[in-house]
C-alpha cells in the first residue's frame, strides 16, 4: 500500500516536472522578445553586394529599387506597357533641361530632337511607383518613314534612357565623351568603380552599316551604362545588371 502511494506520488511529481519542462520555452521567448524590442535592427534586405557608395547615391538606389520593388527587368523599355496619352507640352522640356547639361549636346542635336517632337503624331507614356516616367513618341519623318523616339526620366529629372534616330554620326570617342558627361550630370560619377566593358553586337551587321557600342559597368553599384550608335540610331542609358549577366550577351569587363 505504501509502495502504491509512493508510486502515485512519483508519477504526479513527474507530470508536474514535465508540464514545467514543456512550458519552459515561454520565459526564454519572453527574454528574446525583450531583446528585440530594445535593439536596433538593420533594414538591409539581403546581402545584395552593393557598395555603400551605391546605396547612398540617390539615382543608383532608385534604379536598383525599381528592380527590387517592381521586380521587372524593364530594359530598353521592353516590358513597360505604355498607354496612349495626350501630347504633353511640358514633358519634353524636362528632357531638354537634362540634355543641355551635357556639354556634348550640340545645337544640331537639340534641333533634331525638337523637330521629332514637334512633328509627333502619337504619344505614349507611363509612370511607375518609383517615380520613373517613360515617353514614346512616333513621328513621321521625311514623309515616308516612321521614327520612334523614346526616353525615360526619373522623378528628379535624371535621364535613365534615351533612344532616338539621328542623322548625326557618332564615333566611339563621341560616345565615350557622352558617357562621361552623363555620369557627371546624373551624379553617378560619385561611384568610382566604373570599368570599361568589351561588348560586341550580337545582331547581324550588314555591309556598310556602322555599329559602335560602348559600355561601362560598376560592380559596386551593379549598373550597366551604355552609349551605342547603330545605323542611325543613338541609344544611351543605364540599367541594373549582375556581373554574371554580362556574359549572357557576350560582354565582359576589360582588363584595366
Amino acid at each position: 500500500m505504501k509502495q502504491n502511494l509512493f508510486t502515485a506520488a512519483a508519477f504526479l511529481a513527474a507530470f508536474a516536472f514535465l508540464a514545467l519542462a514543456l512550458a519552459a520555452p515561454l520565459p526564454l521567448m519572453e527574454q528574446s522578445d525583450q531583446e528585440l524590442y530594445t535593439q536596433v535592427m538593420t533594414r538591409q534586405l539581403a546581402d545584395d553586394g552593393r557598395s555603400a557608395q551605391a546605396r547612398s547615391n540617390e539615382f543608383a538606389r532608385q534604379l536598383y529599387d525599381r528592380d527590387q520593388l517592381l521586380r521587372v527587368k524593364n530594359y530598353a523599355g521592353a516590358i513597360l506597357q505604355t498607354t496612349t496619352a495626350e501630347i504633353e507640352a511640358a514633358a519634353p522640356y524636362r528632357l531638354y533641361d537634362f540634355l543641355q547639361q551635357l556639354d556634348f549636346w550640340s545645337s544640331e542635336n537639340q534641333a533634331e530632337l525638337e523637330q521629332q517632337i514637334s512633328q509627333a503624331q502619337r504619344w505614349e507614356t507611363i509612370s511607375d511607383s518609383v517615380g520613373f516616367s517613360a515617353w514614346r513618341v512616333y513621328t513621321m519623318w521625311e514623309d515616308a518613314e516612321w521614327a520612334e523616339l523614346e526616353w525615360e526620366l526619373s522623378a528628379q529629372d535624371r535621364l535613365v534612357r534615351l533612344r532616338m534616330m539621328t542623322e548625326q554620326e557618332y564615333t566611339w570617342e563621341d560616345l565615350e565623351h557622352m558617357m562621361d558627361e552623363y555620369l557627371a550630370a546624373t551624379g553617378l560619377e560619385e561611384i568610382d568603380d566604373w570599368q570599361a566593358v568589351d561588348v560586341a553586337p550580337q545582331f547581324y551587321v550588314a555591309e556598310g552599316i556602322t555599329a559602335t557600342l560602348r559600355a561601362r559597368y560598376s560592380p559596386g553599384a551593379k549598373l550597366y551604362l551604355y552609349a551605342n550608335y547603330v545605323d542611325g540610331v543613338l541609344a544611351l542609358g543605364v540599367c541594373p545588371l549582375e556581373q554574371e549577366e554580362l556574359a549572357q550577351f557576350g560582354a565582359s569587363l576589360m582588363e584595366e
Binding site: 514543456l22 520555452p25 524590442y37 538591409q44 539581403a46 529599387d65 527590387q68 511607383s129 522623378a155 528628379q156
Partner: protein, 467 residues
C-alpha cells in the same frame, strides 16, 4: 517502487524533455522565419511608400513651395491608400510632426527614435497590446528634407507564435499521456515473465517443484526463466533422490533393528534363564547352544552389514582381469558342505574384469540362496560363457522359485520372500542386497528369472577382460 512504474517514469521523463526541447526549437525557428519575412515585406513596403511620398511631394512642388498644410493633406490622402490597420505613418520635418496616423499608443518618442536610428535601421516597438516595426527614411522635396516614419503592425506574428506554442503544448501533453499509457502496457507485458518467475520461486520455497515458468521469449528474462526451470527440475530430482534414499535408509534401519532385535531377544532370554540358575544341565546346554547360534547370526549379520555399508560408501571398484574359473573355485572352497551340489561349467580361459573377492562373495551368496531353495535335482548349476553382451555368469537351481510379485523386491536389504523359512536357514535377507550392490559396482545388474515350483536363474553379465 516496482520495476514497471520505474521504467514508465523514465520513458516519460526522457520523452518529455525531448519534446520540450524540440517544441521550443520549432517554435523559435518558425517565429524567426516569419519575422524575417515580415521584415523583408515591410522594408519593401516602406521603400515604396517613401517613393510615393516623394513623388507626391515633387508633384506638388512643381507648383512652387510646399506648405505644411499641403504636406498634411498629401499625407492624409496617402493614408487612405496605406490603410490604418497596418499601422500608419507620419511625416516629420525638423522634429515637427506634419501629419501622423501612427497609433496613439506608440507616441512621438518611438517615431523620434526611428528617425534617430537612421535610414538603414528598423525598430520593433510595443504599444499597448500591439507590436510594430518602425522605419524612417528621409525625403527631399523643394529643397526641404522630410522624414517618413512608417509603422507596420506585426502583432499577429507574436500572436501566431503564442497560439502555435499553446497548441504545441497541448499536443505534447496529449502525446505524453498516450506515450505513458502505451509504455505502461508495453512494460507490464514485458515483465510478465518476471512475475511468473517470482510465483514459481515462492512455490519452490514452499516445496512445490512442479510449477514451471515456461517463457518463450529469447531475451534475458526468458533465459532466466529457462535456467530457473532447469534449476527447479534438478532440485526436484535431487530431492526425490534424497527422499528415496532416506526412505530406503529408514526402511533399512527399521528392518535392521527388527533383525537385530530377534537374536538379541533370544540371547537375552536364554542368558537370563542361565543367570537364574534354575535350569537343568541339559536345558543349560541347549540354552547355551541357542545363545551361540544367535550370536553367530548376529555376527554374520553385522559382518554383512558392515560389508554392505562399506560397499555403499564405495562408489567405484578397481576392476582387474580375473580368471573366472579361479573365482568359482574359491567359492566352492568356501562352501565345503555345499561343494557336492555344485555343477560348474566354465571355460578355464575366460577372464573378466572384476574384483576377485567381491565377485567370489557374490557367487557365494547366490549359491547359498540357490541351495536354500531346495532344488529338486539337488544341484546348483553354475555356468559361464561368452555372449554378445559380455561374459554371462549364471547360477541356476531347480528349486522353489520366486513369486513374481517379489521379484522386484528381492534385492532390497532385509527382504525375505518367506521369512520364517529363511530365518530358519540363517538367512537374514541381506545376501541378495549385497549381491545386487556388488553387481552394480561391477557395472552390471543381477537378472532374475524364476518360475514358481520350477526354479530360478540368476544371471550376471561381466565385461570380458584380458589376461
Amino acid at each position: 517502487m516496482k520495476l514497471a512504474p520505474k521504467l514508465v517514469l523514465t520513458i516519460l521523463l526522457l520523452l518529455g524533455v525531448l519534446l520540450a526541447a524540440g517544441g521550443g526549437w520549432l517554435t523559435k525557428t518558425d517565429f524567426e522565419r516569419n519575422f524575417e519575412q515580415a521584415r523583408t515585406q515591410n522594408t519593401l513596403a516602406h521603400r515604396r511608400d517613401t517613393y510615393s511620398l516623394q513623388n507626391g511631394l515633387l508633384a506638388k512642388a512643381g507648383s512652387g513651395e510646399i506648405t505644411s498644410q499641403e504636406v498634411a493633406d498629401y499625407g492624409s490622402s496617402l493614408g487612405l491608400y496605406v490603410g490604418q490597420e497596418q499601422g500608419g505613418f507620419a511625416v516629420y520635418q525638423d522634429e515637427q510632426v506634419m501629419y501622423s496616423s501612427l497609433p496613439a499608443a506608440l507616441g512621438q518618442e518611438a517615431a523620434c527614435q526611428a528617425i534617430e536610428a537612421g535610414e538603414e535601421a528598423l525598430l520593433l516597438r510595443k504599444a499597448g497590446q500591439n507590436s510594430y516595426m518602425l522605419m524612417a527614411s528621409p525625403v527631399q522635396a523643394a529643397g526641404k528634407q522630410y522624414w517618413l516614419v512608417s509603422a507596420y503592425d506585426v502583432t499577429n506574428l507574436f500572436r501566431a507564435r503564442e497560439e502555435k506554442f499553446r497548441e504545441l503544448f497541448r499536443l505534447e501533453l496529449a502525446a505524453l499521456a498516450l506515450a505513458g499509457t502505451a509504455a505502461a502496457l508495453a512494460v507490464s507485458w514485458m515483465i510478465r515473465p518476471l512475475k511468473k518467475l517470482e510465483k514459481a520461486s515462492r512455490a519452490v520455497a514452499a516445496g512445490d517443484y512442479t510449477l514451471s515458468t515456461a517463457t518463450k521469449s529469447r531475451d534475458e528474462v526468458g533465459a532466466l526463466s529457462r535456467s530457473f526451470d532447469a534449476m527447479t527440475a534438478t532440485v526436484r530430482d535431487k530431492v526425490d533422490q534424497m527422499e528415496d534414499t532416506i526412505l530406503r535408509q529408514k526402511q533399512f534401519v527399521s528392518a535392521f533393528t527388527h533383525e537385530l532385535k530377534t537374536p538379541m531377544t533370544s540371547i537375552l532370554g536364554y542368558s537370563d534363564l542361565l543367570r537364574s540358575g534354575e535350569m537343568n544341565p541339559e536345558d543349560q546346554r541347549q540354552a547355551v547352544q541357542y545363545i551361540h547360534r544367535e550370536a553367530l547370526r548376529l555376527e554374520t549379520l553385522s559382518g554383512k552389514l558392515m560389508q554392505l555399508m562399506g560397499l555403499v560408501e564405495q562408489e567405484e571398484l578397481t576392476l582387474e582381469p580375473v580368471r573366472l574359473v579361479l573365482v568359482l573355485r574359491d567359492t566352492a572352497a568356501s562352501l565345503p558342505e555345499l561343494a557336492p551340489m555344485l555343477d560348474i561349467r566354465c571355460d578355464p580361459s575366460l577372464t573378466v574384469m572384476a574384483d576377485r573377492d567381491l565377485l567370489a562373495d557374490l557367487v557365494r551368496n547366490l549359491v547359498i540362496n540357490a541351495a536354500r531353495a531346495q532344488p529338486k535335482d539337488g544341484r546348483v548349476h553354475i555356468t559361464a560363457g561368452r555372449t554378445e553382451e559380455g561374459v554371462a555368469l549364471r547360477v541356476a537351481d531347480r528349486g522353489r522359485g520366486i513369486p513374481e510379485a517379489d521379484l522386484s523386491h528381492i534385492t532390497e536389504p532385509f527382504y525375505m520372500v518367506d521369512k520364517s523359512r529363511a530365518r530358519a536357514q540363517n538367512g537374514s535377507g541381506m545376501g541378495l542386497a549385497l549381491c545386487a550392490r556388488i553387481a552394480r559396482l561391477h557395472g552390471s545388474e543381477l537378472r532374475f528369472t524364476s518360475r514358481l515350483g520350477q526354479g530360478t536363474v540368476v544371471e550376471l553379465i561381466l565385461r570380458e577382460g584380458e589376461e
